[in-house]
């Protein structure tokens, strides 16, 4: 909790619209190093768009994003990845034709540098690099306890496990900032508990900063250090879970949609 003073990423007055439809309007918030930051809000509040802005998939029309102290120019997603931002998706976006192992190995792409020549020979430096990265991946497999599905094509896995593999793939990038888009959607209680534990462990032991979108309020309140609440693209509250929970606007927003 001590290292939380430093701001890792700041979103400043960001607005985003798609052909006239406003997805995000003038939203500002920051993510501090080492914290778990939750973004909540009713459906269509612009949460996923916000994540897409952060990792460079969408380019906001207005506003500024400061990452690690530098104002970030318009960038492409792969640049975000190389700067240490990883994410998972609301609807699992795994590489369905590949095994669990290969999926997570893809997460190591940025850490592998051997070119076509060595790859072709699959020998010497290329093989060494492959093995070094396999070790890292195996640590992740061990961490997420997915040993038994290592060589299973991910398309055949149940949803909960797919989510876990996707988290593994993001972890393989050794991210500084991890964006999780509804990591627990569609899971049963036991799977949710597991996922919570992984997220907490990650945050605690590897110091990974995490920004997550989640609907399960219980989970959000348990996990996160600070919460941003969005509604119709506007920020309506920001603060610790306790503060946010007591905010009348939040209560209204949630009661309004029948929660």
């Amino acid at each position: 909790m001590t290292a939380q003073s430093e701001t890792l990423l700041a979103v400043d007055g960001v607005s985003l619209s798609f052909g006239g439809v406003k997805a995000i309007t003038d939203v500002s918030f920051d993510i501090r190093k080492g914290e778990i930051r939750a973004i909540i809000g009713p459906n269509g509040a612009g949460k996923t768009s916000m994540l897409n802005v952060v990792n460079g998939f969408y380019h906001p029309q207005h506003g500024r994003i400061t990452y690690k102290g530098k104002t970030r120019p318009r960038m492409r997603p792969y640049q975000a990845a190389s700067q240490g931002i990883a994410r998972t998706f609301q609807n699992v976006a795994l590489f369905r034709g590949m095994t669990t192992l290969d999926n997570i190995m893809v997460g190591r792409t940025l850490k592998m540098h051997r070119g076509l020549f060595w790859q072709m020979l699959r020998y010497g430096p290329a093989m060494r690099e492959e093995i070094e990265n396999r070790r890292v991946v195996e640590d992740i497999i061990d961490f997420l306890q997915i040993e038994s599905i290592r060589k299973t094509p991910v398309g055949k896995l149940p949803y909960g496990l797919q989510k876990r593999v996707e988290l593994g793939r993001a972890l393989a990038m050794e991210p500084e900032l991890l964006l999780l888009d509804e990591p627990m959607a569609g899971m049963n209680i036991e799977e949710k508990e597991d996922m919570c534990r992984y997220i907490l462990d990650l945050n605690k032991y590897f110091g990974t900063t995490i920004a997550l979108i989640e609907h399960d309020m219980g989970v959000v309140m348990d996990l996160s250090d600070r919460v941003v609440v969005l509604e119709y693209g506007h920020k309506i509250a920001d603060g610790t879970p306790e503060v946010v929970k007591a905010d009348p606007k939040v209560i209204e927003a949630y009661l309004g949609v029948g929660h």
Partner: protein, 324 residues
């Protein structure tokens, strides 16, 4: 060199406007025919999401069938016109049977497969049609029975812009028939029950199912419609040159047309066809000689490619929005 590319052709156009008009007209006519083939593609793509590679071969196949039937009937002593129209009706029947077979044998078993699989399946249909067609009709080029179908021949020469511009009557007829055909299809889509159903299917398969439309039925209708379009195209094209499987390669020209117009747009197919037809003829006539001629074979694709880089979804295509 630069002069030859960028200035000289335009100078030529200005100096001999009659030639320009002639070229434009020829481009327009082949454009109409491209558009007709493309129309067949679009019909099928809209309704079933199948990129029907066989459309080109269906043109040839229908034309061959027509000529084949005509030969049989005239040999049996029918008069030219009677034989021709009986053959026309029978060919339409054959196209219907083909549509049924395609739906039954190919589409139904492959429902819900990825696009590329269906695409490949239409390759299979192409091969079957080529094999079957050649076996039945032989590989020799045939003469289209244009006059028997009351299609005009000869040409109208008009004096204009200081020269003579020659309009083939058959070309004029082709343009007219194509326009009628397109108008007819538009009416069909707007006014008939099946037409409306087709549009519903194009919008959403689920929605169509929920209003109680049988997808299988729709497919048959669409393939039949595409078959009729192919037949008309075949007659027109055949009347201008021979009927043979060499036409297949011309059919491939419909691809750049589609790309230009967008895979799902009927007006796109028409506009695209015209652009490609005219662009190709102009290119060949004015720039072709610089490159040694024969650029018609790829010029259309080059136009399409350049255009795609600017607008990947085509002229009238739906904007591709990537969601994650």
């Amino acid at each position: 060199m630069l002069y030859n590319i960028f200035i000289d052709p335009f100078v030529q156009m200005a100096q001999m406007p009659d030639l320009l008009v002639q070229t434009l007209w020829e481009g327009l006519v082949s454009g109409v025919l491209y558009a007709l083939i493309a129309l067949g593609f679009v019909l099928i793509f809209k309704a079933s999401g199948v990129f029907n590679f066989a459309q080109g071969i269906m043109v040839v196949f229908s034309a061959l069938t027509l000529v084949g039937f005509y030969e049989k009937f005239s040999a049996a002593g029918f008069s030219g016109h009677t034989a021709a129209f009986v053959a026309l009706v029978l060919t339409a029947g054959v196209m219907f049977v083909l549509a049924m077979l395609v739906e039954r044998v190919v589409l139904r078993p492959l429902v819900n497969q990825p696009d590329i699989i269906l695409f490949m399946a239409t390759f299979g249909i192409t091969y079957v049609l080529i094999g079957f067609g050649e076996m039945v009709f032989g590989g020799d080029p045939k003469q289209m029975i244009a006059s028997e179908l009351f299609l005009p021949s000869g040409s109208v020469d008009v004096e204009m812009l200081g020269g003579m511009v020659s309009f083939q009557k058959i070309d004029i007829a082709a343009a007219v028939i194509a326009s009628v055909m397109i108008a007819g299809l538009a009416l069909f889509f707007q006014k008939t029950r099946i037409g409306r159903a087709l549009r519903a299917v194009a919008d959403s398969h689920k929605a169509a199912l929920s209003v109680g439309i049988s997808l299988n039925q729709i497919w048959v209708v669409v393939w039949f419609a595409a078959g009729l379009v192919a037949l008309v195209t075949g007659i027109m094209w055949g009347a201008r040159s021979d009927v043979s499987f060499a036409l297949e390669i011309v059919a491939l020209k419909a691809l750049p047309v589609l790309v230009l117009g967008g895979l799902t747009s009927v007006p796109g197919a028409i506009v695209g066809g015209l652009i490609i037809g005219i662009g190709e003829k102009l290119g060949e006539f004015y720039w072709g000689p610089l490159l040694g001629g024969g650029i018609e074979s790829w010029f259309a694709y080059a136009i399409a490619l350049l255009f795609l880089l600017y607008r990947p979804q085509g002229l009238f295509g739906d904007k591709i929005i990537e969601r994650i």
